[in-house]
Amino acid sequence: MEKEFAAMPILPSVDFDDLLLLLPHELIGLAIVVGMLSVAIGRNHFVSTVISTAGMFAAGVAAAMQLYELAMGASTTMVTTLFVIDALSALFITLLAFSAIGVAIMSFAYFHKLDDARDEFQLLLSLATLGAITLVSSAHFITVVIGLEMLSMALYGMIAYPIHSGAWAANSLESAIKYLALSAVASATMLFGMALIYAATGTLVFLEIAVATAPLFYIGLLMLFAGAAFKLSLVPFHLWTPDVYQGGPLPAVAFLATLGKVAVAVFVIRLFSQPQIGQIMAVSTVVALVAVASILVGNLLALRQTNLKRLLAYSSIAHMGYLLIAVLSISAPALSGGTVTSSLALESALFYLLVYSLLSLGAFGCAILVSSSETEAAGVEDYRGLFWRSPWLASALLVMVLGLAGIPLTAGFIAKFQVFFAAVSDSQWGLLGALVIGSAVGLFYYLRVVYQMLMPVSETEKPFALREIGLESLGVPVVIAVLTLVVLWVGIYPEPLFALITAASF
């Protein structure tokens, strides 16, 4: 026994530079603490929102600076064995932080009228964000677990948030419990998988897993993937998604749909972008099957869905499937001639992830702008005639929906184009087939939404009462406008973003 303990590796000491590298995490953590204190002193929704937003903003800026340095050639560094600070993590921390700000602004407007304690939502938000950025910068299973659980725990709370307030309480409660139970099962599976991998390889630093041929390793890897697939709501782990989306309050769902998934996806990409794992035949085949299933099932489920939130849920299933296609192509052998396309798949995956988060955040933002914790514009028909009732908002929503459908002039087109390209250069014909069919089916329901917005409201029917923009919701249009402009800009001139991502992809 003593011998073995002696063999135990001594953790490297943490010095100030390492702490500096973890600045984003620390800043958000600080914001959380400050926020709690301020709540203890006195409740003020605005103040607590400002605090959490400030924390995220600071984190975002810090990460952006790291990204800049890394893009300028600073080297990737490991903070102990737990965290990795590379361009990828920096990029996504920036993205997450800033989109979290968006969500914070939205939720401020959304919960403004809630007759209950409103401040904690912001705290949970920050907490979840912290979890997310931990996840994207994690190099070690421990940090993965910490990040993932921080994220999920906070999300339970966020989903169940309006639990005391009449209308939505029942739904949010139901979806919270469902989410809790299911994601607990998923976490357990994931943990067990990690345990098996650890058993097989002896290391928990997944960035340097040496492939073991033991079946334990494969089983573990698959269980790990199953857990991640649940969080990404991939078929066959997708069933929870629509219910949770429908029941939860919009801001929470927006967070879950964008930041939650992005963080997990980044982890998955990190894991599978390592050739020694990505090229395991068995695993990649299973993943491919999952991707195909997700694309077809997700799109088909959305086909006749009339509830916008469920519709977005189903479409997110399909989109994660598209993403998986790119991920699968990452491990493809580089094009002969050592051309630009060598890292194309990875770039396309990251690009797709980025664009998807922007688009769905924008879509939810538009929904939030017309809704409040009392009345949500959940049905597609609630958006009937929106284009004529409030053109600007409708145009924004139009851009988002068309973007999700992958129509040109929006970033969605470029993203889908890249996925196509990745799959082609990896000659994944089966996946391409699913992609084509899925997108065609997808068009159908996206067009339904578009059509609803374009149809003028006839005199007889009484349209959904749009929530008028008050002082509290002034921020939301700004967020939406920014998102829309970015989506259009990337859709027309993607080069800068490409450059950024090329820098970020390892």
Binding site: M8, I142, I177, L180, A181, S187, A188, P242, D243, Q246
Partner: protein
């Protein structure tokens, strides 16, 4: 003294895990569901310890501690929600939670 071969330990963990799974799937009383979840989590914890002992690293134990706290947190939130559930529906049968579908 002869240490237990780690395959056996892993077997035990797996068995526990499956028991937990079965519990989660079969029980309608949400409290039991939570307990089964606990079992699953702890099963994976056990697996970590076993494999830790195989490689003679502390990581396994560390992970186990993590899992304990994690499980505690899960249960805390879970119980909170259960109370709300009971308040609203006067029951802790999870089958009442099927309003959201389609």
């Amino acid at each position: 003294m002869e240490s237990i071969p780690f395959e056996h330990g892993l077997m035990l963990a797996a068995t526990l895990f499956c028991l937990g799974l079965i519990g989660v799937m079969t029980r309608r009383n949400i409290v039991f569901v939570l307990m089964s979840l606990e079992i699953m989590l702890n099963a994976s914890g056990l697996a970590f310890i076993v494999s830790g002992s195989r490689w003679g690293g502390a990581d396994g134990q560390v992970m186990f501690l993590m899992i304990l706290t994690l499980a505690a947190a899960e249960v805390a939130v879970g119980l909170g929600l259960i109370i709300q559930l009971y308040k609203r529906f006067k029951t802790i049968d999870i089958d009442v939670l099927s309003a959201l579908k389609g």
